[in-house]
């Protein structure tokens, strides 16, 4: 690594010594792969036969008419195999694991999407797989836990700290330092020690490459703005990379505003004023932390955005003002989700819906001859427990009560 994995002053690899050699190996394999056109071709082939790439760019005609401004296009990462952009990264890392000859993978997961994607890849590549997931997230993303287990993965519920994504990452690192020889840690977002931010972004760049080609074909020119939600930053980096070199395209990252940016109950690192530079989980970025450097509790209705750190590449792009950051509150997200379902028959993941919120705020300000793209990082099916809860859906509740009783009686019967 020439720049030691830094982007401006952000990034680096702040790792325990025990991982040093593994990172050297990972980095050199990654460099070789990156320079090997055959590697990328193999990756493209797999993504187009195992997943569904290129994913479509959908013109949201009804939303466009509703807001009366820019044409709204939606990049459909939800149509990937396993239902989110996470597949892009995971399949890419899977190919690297094959190169390195490792036999076991571990992963952290928040929304469960990365866990499902990793378990899927492990099944396909014949690897052993353990997924770490915060206890809070296990609760709110139960269906994903079920599928991971069915795909043969071991899911470990992490009960330390805030019991969300960051704690799952710590626990994954603890596993890694223990099983470093056999195991690759499939980090799920563009965070963590170098080369992960660069590597994950590289695999995700497939989104932006496609989106650029698609919007030019459909709209005849580049979009005015591109919106993406930002948890760790991988889907945002993915789509932004299609447009980074075109300064006329404004790039907007949308973070979790949670209960409101002023309540402290959010996960906004690059907008808002609660974050400051720090070093944790192996890299330097803007963290939500107190004056002592202790990480704060974060909050978001979307498990996948509920994280203290953010991609160092995005911290750099924020500092350079190449990417603008905004936030969307939980309530705004539910509203945007509702509107999108009703008007377009599309169900964005709660994470993705953050991007929709900001796009909806800005679309009316733009001319009708302009286009904007929203990156729909995933589908909302996984969120049924959260969404049904948020909508306070009575028949869903009745259903769950009835099922619960049934199972409770079964249990009594057996014991």
């Amino acid at each position: 690594m020439e720049n030691k994995g830094f982007f401006g002053k952000w990034g680096g690899a702040f790792i325990p010594e025990i991982l040093h050699e593994t990172f050297e190996q990972l980095d050199s394999n990654f460099r070789q792969a990156k320079e090997d056109p055959q590697f990328w071709q193999e990756y493209l082939d797999l993504m187009s036969t195992y997943s569904c790439r290129p994913t479509p760019l959908t013109f949201a005609e009804n939303l466009t008419n509703h807001f009366g401004g820019a044409k709204i296009y939606i990049k459909r990462e939800d149509l990937n195999h396993t239902g989110a952009h996470k597949a892009n990264n995971v399949i890419g890392q899977g190919l690297l694991v094959k190169r390195m000859g490792k036999k076991r993978v571990i992963a952290e997961t928040g929304a469960g999407q990365h866990g499902v994607a990793t378990a899927t890849m492990a099944a396909k590549f014949g690897l052993e797989c353990t997924v770490y997931m915060g206890e809070v997230d296990v609760q709110r993303q139960r269906p994903n836990v079920f599928w991971m287990e069915k795909m043969g993965a071991t899911v470990i519920s992490v009960k330390d700290g805030s019991r969300t994504l960051k704690d799952a990452i710590n626990e994954a690192f603890r596993d890694w330092v223990t099983n470093v020889d056999t195991t690759h840690y499939v980090l799920g977002t563009a965070c963590g020690p170098a080369p992960f931010p660069e590597m994950v972004s590289w695999f995700q760049s497939i989104i932006g490459v496609e989106a650029k080609r698609q919007i030019l074909a459909r709209h005849g020119k580049l979009p005015a703005r591109v919106y993406a939600c930002v948890g760790g930053g991988s889907n945002a980096m993915g789509i932004f990379q299609g447009f980074l070199d075109s300064p006329e395209v404004e790039l907007i990252g949308v973070e979790a505003g949670g209960k409101g940016i002023d309540t402290g109950r959010h996960a906004s690192r690059l907008c808002g004023r609660d974050a400051s530079p720090g070093v944790a989980q192996g890299y330097k970025t803007m963290f939500l932390q107190n004056n002592d450097g202790q990480m704060l509790e974060t909050h978001s209705v979307a498990a996948g955005l509920d994280y203290v750190g953010v991609s160092p590449i995005l911290s750099h792009l924020a500092e350079e003002k190449r990417v603008r950051f905004a936030s969307a509150t939980d309530d705004e997200v539910i509203e945007a989700l509702d509107l999108t379902m009703r008007m377009e028959g599309i169900i964005p993941a709660l994470e993705s819906a953050h991007g929709f919120v900001q796009a909806f705020k800005e679309a009316p300000q733009l001319g009708r001859d302009e286009a904007i793209i929203i990156n729909q990082s995933g589908r909302g099916d996984k969120d049924i427990f959260t969404i049904a809860h948020a909508f306070d859906d009575p028949s869903w509740k009745e259903f769950i009560i009835a099922r619960g009783k049934e199972y409770a009686e079964d249990k009594k019967g057996k014991s």
Partner: protein, 254 residues
């Protein structure tokens, strides 16, 4: 006196030194005081005081829990610094801080070193700061004469050990095995070979940590390393048997 020198003079008198570990603020600073007093009375040669961090990535369950509970009780970095000053004033053995890099980064690196120096802290163990990530840190360490303790791991190559040695001072912390703190290690032939590689790579004293729990473990490394590090075991001991058990425990180790 510089850390390495102090250790060497103690090594002139003992086959092996003992370094113990505590997590500051767990279960309270008051208990820490009692534990340290027991440790010193028991004859430890060096104490490593961990400033708690919310993300102790290299620590196992026992120390992780101690970090979290300490923070939940409100332990601050300032309080840890003051406590360190108090201990160095009271006891004539070297005290080190162990923590993660973010604590120092947030505190301000130079301010942290300055305060350590003035508090009489002799060294720092920062498991997530490899030398290539800490140019300024290592510059300041030299300037303020607070030894940056570096870590050798069983996965470290000769080349890497040499590289680490160039930035290290005080002693080298040899991690006995892969993994996090708090679990059993095997002191077998592989371990001996590893330790021989460590020895060959540096002139600094060698400490061995991770999984040293009893007299047998200490004996296993005596003659091969210079310092035995007892980490999670004393936390367990205090949790289960109270502070009074620490002195006898330490005395029974050699």
């Amino acid at each position: 006196m510089l850390l390495e020198k102090t250790l060497r003079s103690r090594l002139a008198e003992k086959d092996i030194l003992l370094m113990t570990h505590i997590v500051l603020g767990y279960p309270s600073l008051a208990t820490n005081r009692q534990v340290i007093s027991q440790m010193v009375a028991g004859g430890v040669d060096c104490i490593e005081m961990q400033i708690p961090f919310s993300e102790p990535m290299a620590d196992g369950p026992v120390i992780l829990k101690a970090n979290q509970e300490s923070l939940a009780l409100g332990t601050t970095v300032a309080a840890c610094m003051a406590f360190g000053r108090e201990m160095t004033g009271q006891y004539d053995i070297p005290f080190l801080f162990m923590t993660y890099y973010n604590i120092i980064f947030k505190y301000g690196e130079e301010r942290f070193f300055k305060d350590c120096q003035s508090a009489g802290i002799k060294g720092l163990i920062i498991p997530d700061l490899p030398p290539e990530m800490g140019e300024e840190f290592f510059r300041l360490a030299t300037r303020y004469q607070v030894a940056p303790i570096l870590i050798f791991a069983p996965t470290s190559t000769e080349r890497r050990m040499a590289e680490l040695n160039r930035s290290a001072a005080g002693f080298i912390y040899c991690v006995a095995r892969r993994g996090v703190t708090g679990k059993q290690s095997e002191f077998d032939d592989d371990f001996d070979a590893y330790l021989a590689r460590c020895r060959a790579a540096t002139d600094l004293p060698l400490a061995v940590g991770f999984g040293i729990r009893n007299k047998k473990d200490v004996a296993a490394i005596t003659g091969k390393a210079d310092i035995a590090v007892i980490g999670s075991e004393t936390i367990r001991l205090v949790d289960e048997q109270g502070t009074e058990a620490v002195g006898p425990f330490i005395m029974g180790l050699r």
